[in-house]
Amino acid sequence: MTVPRDDGRPWARAHASVAVAAGGAALVLLGVAAGRADVAVVGVAPLVAVLWDWSRRPRGEVGISLVQPVQQPEPGEMVVHAGINAPDDAPAALLAVRRGRTPAVVTLVRLEHGRRVVRVRVRTVRTGPQELATAEALALGAGGASLAEAADPVEVRTVVLPGTPRLGEVPLPPRLRGLSGAHESRRAGEGGGLRDVHPYSSGDRMRRIDWRTTARRSPQLRELYVRREHALAEAAVVLVVDSRDDVGPDPLTWRGSNLPDPLEATSLDLARTAAAALAQAYLGQGDRVGLDDLGVLRRPLPPGAGRRQLDRVRHALAVTQPGIDQRARARAPQVPSGALVVLFSTFLDDEPVEVAAHWQRIGHRIVAVDVLPDLRTRHLDGRERLALRLVSLAREDRLAALADLGIDLVSWRDSPVTALTLARRRGAPGRGRTVASAAHR
C-alpha cells in the first residue's frame, strides 16, 4: 500500500480548466471593452466556477491499497478490496484495475472525505501463483479542475489451490501393500470377503470354524473347516506432474511472448486439478499418495495417507511452476515398488513417453493423463496451422506409442471420469481384482 503524504503543494491545474478560465476571462474582457454586458455575463459562470475550484485545490498525495482477504483461495470468484486514500477535499478519483496485460477497467469513482473502498470481483480458472489484480489511482480536485500525481500501482498476488472435483472409480496398482486399507488383496487374512473354506490348521482362529461345512464334509469331526477371508490392503500411488509445459488453448501463446488468457485454463492448471482430484479420490479410500515433478529436480513428496496429506499434495501442486529448474533429469523419478504411477503431461516431447516406458518395463502400472487443453485454431493462419499440425502429429504418435505399451491413457478434457472408470475395469494386465471404488465421501 502506498501512504499519502502532504508535500505542501497544491495539486496541478488541469489543462482544460486553464483553457476554460482563459476563455471566460477573454469574454469578460471583450464584453467590458465592447460595452456588452451580455457578452461578459456568458463568460462569468465558467470563469467563476474554475476560480472557485482552483481556490480549493487539495494538497498531498494519493495512496492506494489492494487487499485479498482469503489467503489460499480456490479457482472461481474472489473479492479484492481496492482502497483509495486521498486528502479530505478530493471529491473523485480515477481507479484503474487491470490483470496481466489485459486493458485496464477504468472508473471515475466518488470519494467520501477522500476515502473509498471498492470491491473488485476477480474470476479465475487458473491455479498456482498468480496476479489477481493491479490497481492505480489518480485523484481529482473539485470540478476536475486539478489533479494529483498518480499513485504508484499496487499489485495483489496469491496462490490459488487446485480444486478437487469428485471422481468415481479410479484404477489401482497391480500389487496392494500392507495389512490394512480399503481394498481386498489376494492374500488370506481378515477384513475382506470370503476367500475359501480350508481345513483347520495351526494359527486359525476358533471363531473362523465353519460348523455347517465341517458337518457336511466331516460328519465324524475328524477334521475341522474354517472360512478364510481376503486380507485388506492399501494402494500406493505416485502422481508425477510434468511441469515443463504450461500451454494454453491458444497455440500462439506457446512461444511465451504472449501470455495465455487469464480466463482460460492452461495445461498446468489442468494437471494440478487432475492430480488434486485423483489425490482426493485415493486418499479418500485410505490409499497412500505421493507427488513428484518431472520437470524439477527436488525432493518428492513421499507417499502418505490422510487428510493432511491431501493438503500437502495440493500445496505442492499449487507452487509447481514451469522453468524453475532447467537441469535435465538423468533418470526417471524413482517410485516405490508396486506403486501405481499417474503421469500428467501434454506429451509435446518424448521425455514423458520414455519415462513412462521405463516405469512400465520395471513393472509399474502407468496411467497417462493427457492435460493438453482444447485448442483454439480458428485465428491461425496457414503457416501456423501447418506448424500446429506437425506438432499434433508427433504428439499423436507418442500417445499411440503409450497405448502400444499397454499404458492406460486418460484425456482430462474429455470426460475423465469415464476414462478412469474404464481404466479401473481394465485393471493391470492379468490382475482382475486390483480395482476398487473411490467412494463418494
Binding site: 486553464v18 476571462a25 469574454l27 465592447a34 456568458v42 467563476v48 486493458p103 489533479l147
Partner: protein, 191 residues
C-alpha cells in the same frame, strides 16, 4: 437495481476479458459523457433567437467545434467554444432574456462536463455520484450567473456603453482580475 446497489462495471469491455468486475454505484460510459458534451456544446453554439440565426456553413463549423470539444475534451477546445459563443453574441446583437439565460447555462454545462470528461478515458465509466455532487457546485455558480443575466438584460442593457469612462474602468478591472487569478504560464499545471 437501486441507486445504492453496487453494479459491476465490466460488462463486455476490458473487465470481462480480464475477469474483473469493479463494484461501484451506478455508472455511465465515458463516451456518453463526451456525447453529451458535444450535444450541449452544439446547442450553445447554434442556439437560434430572433435575429440570431446562423448561416448553414457556420452551423457546420460550430458543430465541428463542438465535436472536437466532445472528442478531445482535454485539449482546451472548451475554452475556444466559450469564446466562440461570446463572439457570436457580440456579432449577432443582444439576445433576448431567455436566449441569454440559456446560453449562460449551456456554456457553463459544456465546460463543466468537458472538464470531467477530459480526465476519463473513452472506454472508462463514470460513477453518477461524481456528477451529482458536482452538479450542486454547478448550481451554486449558475443561480447567481442567471440572476446577473436577468439583471443585465432587464436593467443595464440600455445604458451599457453610454459612458466611456465606465467602460475603461471596467476593462482595467477585468484585466487586473484576469492577470491576478489566472495561473502563470507553466506554474502548477499538469504535465
Amino acid at each position: 437495481m437501486s441507486a445504492a446497489e453496487p453494479s459491476p462495471t465490466s460488462g463486455r469491455g476490458p473487465g470481462a476479458r480480464a475477469g474483473l468486475d469493479v463494484e461501484v454505484g451506478r455508472t455511465v460510459p465515458a463516451w456518453t459523457v463526451r456525447a453529451v458534451v458535444a450535444l450541449v456544446g452544439s446547442a450553445a453554439l447554434v442556439l437560434p433567437w430572433p435575429g440570431g440565426v446562423l448561416p448553414a456553413p457556420v452551423v457546420v463549423l460550430a458543430v465541428a467545434l463542438a465535436l472536437v470539444v466532445g472528442l478531445r475534451p482535454r485539449s482546451g477546445a472548451a475554452g475556444v467554444l466559450v469564446v466562440a459563443v461570446g463572439l457570436r453574441l457580440a456579432v449577432q446583437g443582444p439576445a433576448p432574456l431567455w436566449a441569454l439565460c440559456t446560453l449562460v447555462l449551456l456554456v457553463h454545462g459544456t465546460v463543466w462536463l468537458a472538464t470531467w470528461a477530459g480526465r476519463v478515458p473513452f472506454a472508462a465509466r463514470v460513477e453518477l455520484a461524481v456528477l451529482r455532487s458536482g452538479l450542486r457546485r454547478l448550481l451554486v455558480v449558475q443561480v447567481p450567473a442567471q440572476a446577473v443575466a436577468v439583471l443585465v438584460v432587464t436593467l443595464a442593457q440600455p445604458s451599457v456603453g453610454a459612458s466611456d469612462v465606465a467602460r475603461i474602468v471596467g476593462l482595467v478591472a477585468a484585466a487586473a482580475v484576469t492577470v491576478l487569478v489566472l495561473p502563470r504560464a507553466g506554474a502548477d499545471e499538469e504535465d
